[in-house]
Symmetry: C2
Subunit: 578 residues, 2 copies
């Protein structure tokens, strides 16, 4: 049971080696791209300032074998100055306040985060691009602005924000995980990036993501895989892989990821921070690069990752209410961020999903749910057990809608360079390879999706359920490439419910989080469940953060975040700062 | 120039008789449906109460030839009692107030409207179903409720509202213009109908619509065509054909239509009332029947028609803020109706489209635009001339998205009964017959649509344009079946801008609204323009209402309606009540 079965063999062999992946890889063509990739990698290496370089005690491979907790190491070995620690262990709102009060300059703040973020990269491989010099110049300009005008430029003045690479960045390569796009220079910032910049944010890092953006991991042909900061033998999640790692490590105050099937929540949950997948169209995605242009049945959204729920709220509020995305992107809803006060626990009804019926959660996740439910009940929350209906249909419908074009766009982007396919790319492509949908099929899929959305909406309305609590994945952070099951996160993309992945404050404990005798007698409901469960070996997941997710009704992102503050800050008393 | 060229010949012959309309008509199969149609028609005849029957002075065909103004006739021949006139010439808000104050009962109000609406039907053929007895019982219950509880049941207590037939009505046939659906009994009200009912509205009439719902006219195999009340030789527009006629005639206080390409605005404009096409997803369309399920690129919306802009506002506000459509239909936006005050004329910038570049407006429409622009300028409004960019691409994209399934769903619904195809059905089917789009093509169409939306949004933001004023069609109400050009209305469906069709208070005048010498030298830009212009012969359009439309930014329905009150009520001083 606890033996690890390598993913390459047994169950998925036939699937992953099948003959259908034709028209993608082309080693000859790819050769032409290798020098460009080398150049790109070198630019990243060169972006690591000499003074920020970490003196590793032993080769990183050995640290991986030891399941190093890089955050623990950061503090134990005092890799930052006390002032740098103080700054980088502050929330974004504290940072803005302290700059406004003259306690810190934007340059001081920037240097502290750039230092910590560059260390994060050396441990976790979270960056695709580092441009500390540019960020420093911007921070200097902010200080000059403040000096000259006697006020801050905006509500994010001097806040270092990390950006997922796929979000177009003016003048920089924007490849979205496709080698074939290595020559694509974004003509301007994405709308969200521009808004953040206008509000005073400072950028210095663009972060890793997997090939195609459709993995819950980070495999791509530009860099090595990204690691969970609390156990560098594990995955940081995906597809906002680098965001999860850099934010959890404290290398940026806020990170911007994107989520079509779990890509903000998986990295937040696996890496050790919080992350919000907002309802669609609340934040602009215009200027982001992906294979999904025009796929609007289950669209991708941008969303923030942070170590504080308050910072997630601040980012959403100012980006929407002061940034006015609808002035630059007509796709954005004209829906201001509402002021919603923190709810009272005894007024809340929360439906809890313990097992979604597809893949049984591993012991640490079950402990996470049990602990949180117990504390919620103690606080007076009304808890209802909830078995999500039609879950197989829901996930199937989501995947069919993602891949409805028969992978045509992904194939075009992959074939451009002929780059080798990552294993999880093949996994994702499987859903689309034999698809030959007509438009009418597609309309029926939309109608099925709407019926499912109404089924869940009716459940919440009729039972007066305020929120749904569920695992964000069936496991804590898996080992790299071992994340197959999207169902816990993707359900809420299909339903388009705002969902906050949050840390419970618990970490995996190999002594406690073991399979029980009863578990050993369990009969698997599917091969994917068997694979996912077999991948959990308690010894290999030391210190992995235990996270859950909280979903609210559609467009009630405000209520989800407000409840997140109650649950995370007040009830669970989680503090991700040192 | 002024000679009428019958639509059957010349320009469109090849198009309309082409071989591609295969798999639709089946005379043998249709024969089985004829008795059912007869029964349906008889039920309608039986629904005309004896005491509401009009004693026509001569056969209706002769009145048509005389271009009878049925509204004028109604008053001249005093077809209602003074009290009935007083009631039916009140706004919905006045009605609710007077019932609340005890001046009128719900039964009194109901009877007056049912009488006027039944007369409307006899002149204009606006009804598919009449059920006065049922409405009367409901009105009685409302009076009992008021008596027992000392208050009204809701903000629409006792307001007679007419409903387009396609909107599902519990226990009644809901065919959406397809004979094949004549056995389809709706299991429940559509969400919007249920909300209106819960708020106190009373129903007694379900109104006409064309086969397929995709005409700007009313041709179907259940009934004769619906007529403009102000000139019964003309079309009432479509596809909310009966709504235009019954509301304009005063047979209901508010009407509910639907609009995917102009279907609220065309009947409002042609028939003589106002009509709002809201932004998508502000009102629920769940429970409506059409061929468009799952087509969400340019979706249909429900919207109100009324003789008062204030009533349009009242309907939108209470349906959204008190009806909470998002509790019953997850597709509805959680976007409360905002309180927006009437703007100040001199603060406004309005861009005016005089000619959209595809079809030149006829003389009465040009007079309408000139008059309104002049009055707006006098009131202090800043007017900018606006040539809409990429108009051909916009209309082509909309039509491609409507018909993207290659008419598969329409074909299924039409072929079910093998019913004869109406000429404008063929016209609409033309766009889809040879379509063979892939999903990727469809995604590209969505991307094109979004680029167009942003082009127009950028124009409005960068030029600080509050609203766009334009003709609602290139002509006043055309003769039946002579409406081919959707481009004036459909542009705003593609852009998803809230758009109010409003009466200018002007009527066509055969002496004034003539083609000029210069017009005669005009070189047509297309065959559709030639046809549309040739269809305008001044002698044939006596008293046709002259209407325009006002579009605002996406989701700013509130601002459009508020500006509508300023323009229609204060500046143009239009009063559609007697």
């Amino acid at each position: 049971m606890t033996d690890h079965i390598p993913i390459e063999d047994a169950l998925f062999e036939s699937l992953l080696t099948k003959e259908t992946f034709q028209g993608y890889e082309d080693p000859e063509k790819f050769k032409q791209y290798i020098p460009k990739i080398e150049q790109y990698k070198k630019a990243l290496e060169d972006g690591i300032l000499e003074e920020y370089k970490v003196d590793f005690p032993k080769p990183i491979e050995e640290l991986v074998d030891e399941q190093l907790d890089a955050v623990e190491y950061l503090y134990k070995h005092k890799l930052l100055t006390p002032e740098e620690f103080e700054i980088t262990d502050s929330t974004a709102t504290e940072i803005v306040k302290n700059i406004g009060d003259g306690k810190w300059t934007a340059v001081q703040v920037f240097k502290a985060f750039a230092h910590r973020g560059t260390i994060a990269h050396q441990f976790t491989n979270c960056a695709h691009q580092l441009f500390v010099d540019e960020g420093l110049k911007h921070a200097q300009k902010l200080d000059e602005y403040q000096k000259k005008n006697g006020k801050l430029i905006g509500p994010l003045h001097g806040v270092p924000i990390s950006l997922k690479e796929q979000s177009g960045y003016k003048g920089k390569i924007t490849h979205a995980g496709y080698v074939g796009l290595i020559d694509n220079i974004a003509p301007k910032h994405s709308v969200t990036t521009q808004i953040l910049s206008d509000l005073g944010a400072v950028f210095y890092i663009r972060t890793t993501q997997p090939q195609t953006l459709m993995h819950l991991c980070s495999g791509n042909n530009f860099s090595e895989k990204t690691k969970c900061p609390f156990n560098i033998a594990l995955s940081s999640g995906g597809s906002s892989s680098g965001e999860g790692a850099v934010v959890s490590f404290g290398g940026s105050a806020i990170g911007i990821g994107s989520d079509i099937g779990g890509s903000v929540r998986s990295p937040a949950a696996f890496s050790g921070c919080h992350g919000l997948r907002p309802t669609t169209r609340r934040l602009s995605t215009l200027g982001g690069v992906s294979s999904g242009a025009g796929q609007e049945s289950v669209p991708s959204v941008f969303g923030p990752l942070a170590r504080s729920i308050g910072d997630i709220e601040h980012m959403m509020k100012v980006t929407i209410n002061e940034g006015h995305p609808w002035d630059y992107d007509n796709w954005s809803l004209y829906m201001p961020w509402r002021e919603v006060s923190k709810p009272v626990a005894k007024d809340l009804t929360i439906a809890v999903i313990r097992d979604n019926g597809l893949v049984r959660p591993s012991p640490p996740i079950r402990r996470g749910v049990d602990t949180v439910v117990k504390k919620l009940k103690e606080a007076g929350v009304n808890i209802i057990e909830f078995n999500p209906p039609n879950i197989e249909l829901a996930i199937k419908t989501a995947v069919q809608l993602f891949a409805s074009d028969g992978n045509e766009k992904q194939r075009e982007l992959l074939a451009k360079s002929g780059e080798p396919l990552q294993m999880l790319t093949k996994w994702g492509l499987n859903y689309g390879e034999e698809v030959n949908y007509t438009i009418q099929d597609h309309r029926k899929l939309n109608a099925t999706r709407d019926a499912l959305r109404n089924e869940y909406n009716d459940y919440m309305v009729q039972n007066k359920v305020d929120f749904i609590l569920s695992p964000a994945y069936n496991n804590v952070a898996p080992r790299p490439t071992e994340a197959y099951n999207w169902s816990y996160t993707t359900l809420f993309n299909l339903l388009d419910l705002p969902t906050l992945a949050f840390q419970t404050g618990l970490k995996q404990d190999p002594e406690v989080d073991v399979w029980t005798e009863e578990d050993m007698r369990y009969e698997y409901r599917s091969k994917i469940e068997e694979l996912e469960n077999m991948n959990y070996n308690p010894e290999k997941f030391k210190h992995a953060p235990i996270a859950l997710q909280l979903s609210g009704r559609r467009y009630r992102d405000e209520e989800v975040v407000a409840a997140g503050k109650l649950i995370v800050d007040d009830i669970l008393k989680v503090n991700l700062f040192h």
